[in-house]
Amino acid sequence: MSGKVIICRCNDVTIDEIEALIDEGVTDIEEIKRLLRIGMGPCQGRTCIPLVLSILAKRTGKKPEEIPLPRARVPIRPVRVGVIVGGDDE
């Protein structure tokens, strides 16, 4: 796979960008996440994190289960601020 293959649809991150970063020596998924903003969009990494794991595994020769997942962030789905602070009353 090469070219403009999008891995993170929230932040438009391509496979090339991920592979280039791994080749630069950034192989911790928490770091890849923050430098490329994968898993930081509204989908919360549901689509991209498993794909990044497999790219990372292939590129570094590790087993996917040896690669720790990034810390999960609440909420698991975006929540409207008004719902938490109590609707429209000022």
């Binding site: 932040n11 928490e30 923050r34 903003r37 909420p75 429209d88």
Partner: protein
């Protein structure tokens, strides 16, 4: 050339490793987890010279000057932007206090000024002007991307020969008299040792553990970890709340629009003493509390979605000023930043590297003010102005 060990791969440790390499030192940098994993990658991105005491104002004035040239120096886009800090007063006494702070800041060349709410609304279109009387506005304050800044320093440091190791935990220091001779570290389950000429403790919240390894009292520099949380919204149109906006009297609540993706980061001084140095669990009371303040500052935020909440540490000293200086003959500390490590890093890293390499520094850093032995002497400084 001497061999220097830096303990702590946050922004202070990484930037100091870079500065030491620039001065020709051979540097080995240890990070027990991934780079930035402590406080740096959890910070709210803000950079300000609006402090309320001379030492911090002068240090941050120099730091902002360094920030202005950092992108060019490091050859990396770090998203540094001077979008300002806007503090908002809710009472006449506060307006008076703002005026005093502004006078002090102006004396050291920081161009803060008092502004009315009309101007404030132009700067922050979603601002609710009604509860506020005036603002303290410094357009030279700003923000940068902590992830990119740390890696910009790290990539350059590595190019200059810094041996930067992550997932490598320092487990012991070998001391003879008042000198540290070697650092023992664990990597991939194996313990190894490296002889060193000097050591910097840049472990921030973890710094007391490193001091203990050096045979010092754990509380010689009394740093406590407080859980500081942030909440971020989905991206909004850029320009809605670019400066950091903070009414200090509302529990130091603040909002700041992320310069990169446009999401609004919301913080507040709703803190908990951390249950341990792994306590990164976000809490619901914070979420609810911070969003109440955020929507009072900017009511349209009610219609935005939050996408993320996270926790990090403010590594606090009793006077909220960091401990920077020499602890033993060749053992130094730069820790306890109380939430200000990211913004101070360019200045502090330069100062500490120059101190370690040359015994003195050109940076206007008041060594006596930040003296790490002040706590033992029972000498506290006036509390550094900390928000959130």
């Amino acid at each position: 050339m001497s061999k220097v060990a830096v303990i702590g791969g946050g922004i202070i440790g990484v930037a100091t490793a870079y500065e030491l390499a620039k001065l020709g030192e051979e540097v080995i940098l240890f990070e027990k987890s991934y780079f930035g994993s402590g406080s740096t990658f959890r910070c709210a991105t803000g950079i300000r010279a609006q402090f309320t005491d001379e030492a911090n104002i002068r240090l941050m004035k120099h730091s902002v000057r360094r920030w202005e040239g950092l992108e060019e120096e490091l050859g990396f886009d770090i998203n540094f932007r001077q979008t300002g800090y806007l503090f908002l007063a809710t009472s006449e006494e506060e307006v008076k206090a703002f005026k005093n702070n502004i006078r002090l800041q102006n004396r050291f060349g920081v161009p803060t000024r008092l502004i009315g709410m009309e101007e404030a609304k132009e700067i922050v279109p979603i601002l609710n002007t009604e509860p506020f009387l005036a603002g303290a506005w410094n357009p030279k304050d700003g923000k940068a991307n902590p992830f990119k800044t740390l890696f910009a320093y790290l990539f350059r440091a590595r190019e200059m020969g810094v041996d930067a190791r992550e997932h490598t935990e320092v487990v012991a220091l070998e001391r003879e008299g008042d000198t540290i001779k070697a650092v023992k570290y664990r990597s991939n389950g194996r313990v190894e040792s490296v002889k060193v000429d000097a050591v910097l403790n840049a472990a921030n919240a973890w710094a007391p553990l490193i001091n203990e390894m050096a045979g010092l009292k754990r509380d010689l520099v009394p740093i406590k970890a407080y859980k500081h949380q942030l909440v971020k919204t989905e991206p909004l149109e850029p320009g809605q709340a670019e400066p950091l906006v903070c009414p200090p009297s509302w529990n130091d609540a603040y909002i700041i629009q992320d310069g990169e993706d446009g999401g609004i980061i919301c913080g507040a001084g709703i803190e908990h003493e951390a249950r341990g140095l792994n306590d990164y669990e976000p809490t619901y009371d914070f979420l609810r509390g911070v969003l109440r303040y955020a929507t009072m500052i900017a009511p349209p935020l009610k219609y935005a979605h939050i996408v993320r909440q996270w926790a990090g540490f403010y590594a606090k000293t009793p006077d909220k000023n960091p401990a920077i200086g020499r602890l033993l003959d060749n053992f130094y500390i730069a820790a306890g930043f109380s939430g200000h490590g990211f913004m101070m890093a360019p200045a502090v890293a330069q100062a500490v590297a120059e101190l370690m390499a040359n015994g003195r520094s050109r940076v206007p850093l008041d060594w006596e003010w930040y003296d790490p032995y002040r706590f033992e002497r029972g000498e506290l400084r006036s509390s550094a102005f900390q928000i959130g």
